[in-house]
Amino acid sequence: MIFTLIQKEFILEWRQRYAINGIILYLASTVFICYMSFNLKLGLVDPIIWNALFWVIILFTAVNAVAKSFLQESYGRTLYYFSLVKPESFIISKTIYYSGLLLLMSILGFLFYAFVMGNPVQDKFMYLLVLCLGSIGLSSTLTLTSAIASKASNSSSLMAVLSFPIIIPLLLVLIKASKNAMDGLDRSVYTDQLLTLVAINALIMGFSYLLFPYLWRS
């Protein structure tokens, strides 16, 4: 069931390629704006700023990418899904699909960002792992907030208001862990940060799994 739903998301995305192209373009132009406005190459930009700027770009891209997950669904189609599938499988499929999408986006973003701004990352494997955990966490938080915001009026601005404060704890740990990977510290030094990330992800996913059925009913 979940697999069919993911497949459906995939086909929908493929049919309206302008949406995903738009997000890629959004990502690329944000990276370029940062590059131009800082007017700096690696060596001049501080590693802390390099890392924080990257995560801010990913955050904004994620909000834009995931915002449409529920906002795009029309009323009639929601009713149709309601009669066909269980709410739990619906939210799980959305979360998995958007985690994948976001992971793709963040890897693309990382490549382009490293291309123009230089690449100071030393432990690339761990940085990728943090990126992966970050994509999962961001997408699961944003999927639920998008579902909440889609029920209210002026939902696009509400989406940012609702999700940013909730994301901050996740983002702080992400920035810290990725900074450690960037500096190439010994992996055992920040394993506890990775475990915290996994725990926060599990917490968010557990809550969206439990809460979504109530949201679905209205």
């Binding site: 639920l144 909440i148 009026s153 509400l158 404060p165 704890p169 949201l215």
Partner: protein, 219 residues
Amino acid sequence: MKKTWWKILAVAILIYAILGALLFDAPRLNILNETIRNLHFHVTMWFGMIILLTASMVLAIRYLRTGNQKFDLYSVELANVGVLFSILGLVTGAVWANYAWGEPWSGDPKQNGAAVCLLIYLAYFVLRNSINDEQQRGRIGGIYNIFAFAALIPLLFILPRMTDSLHPGNGGNPGFNAYDMDSRLRIVFYPAVIGWTLLGLWMASLRIRMRKVQKQLED
């Protein structure tokens, strides 16, 4: 909640706690000195806030379970008082930090966490106000309330412990454990927590009654 004995109890405890906080003998600890008396005003606010917001979340769960509008009303008003407590906690902390740390806001992890927590609950009120239908408002507000509480736990209890903080208890300052042992503070601190929390409940119950009357006047 209309009984009066617990309101009298709250006032009595608070008179005792305020007098005790200002007049009783306090232990001399380095760095903190006499400012340790702020424990009874500042830290009690956070204890009260956590209790009120936990109650608000539990009531939100009950609302989602039963659909009874009454629980939604309770949940919102408790969150309202919880937010008031967190603002007071920030203000009392800032006044204290002005003397203890030299500036009211120094970007301490716990300060930032508390500010973010305030943002989350303000977003909750924005969300509620942007939904017109009453049942919808209750349900979606309740869901966000529970989700917000889940975000609050890492923010206030896990993240500050992972970094160094200027707060007592971290970075070499005498902390809660050090004066937890001290019965001179304990005999004021725990009653003060109960007193402030009861006062918060009283405020919430007044607002709940006011809202009920307003609703009846509208109908």
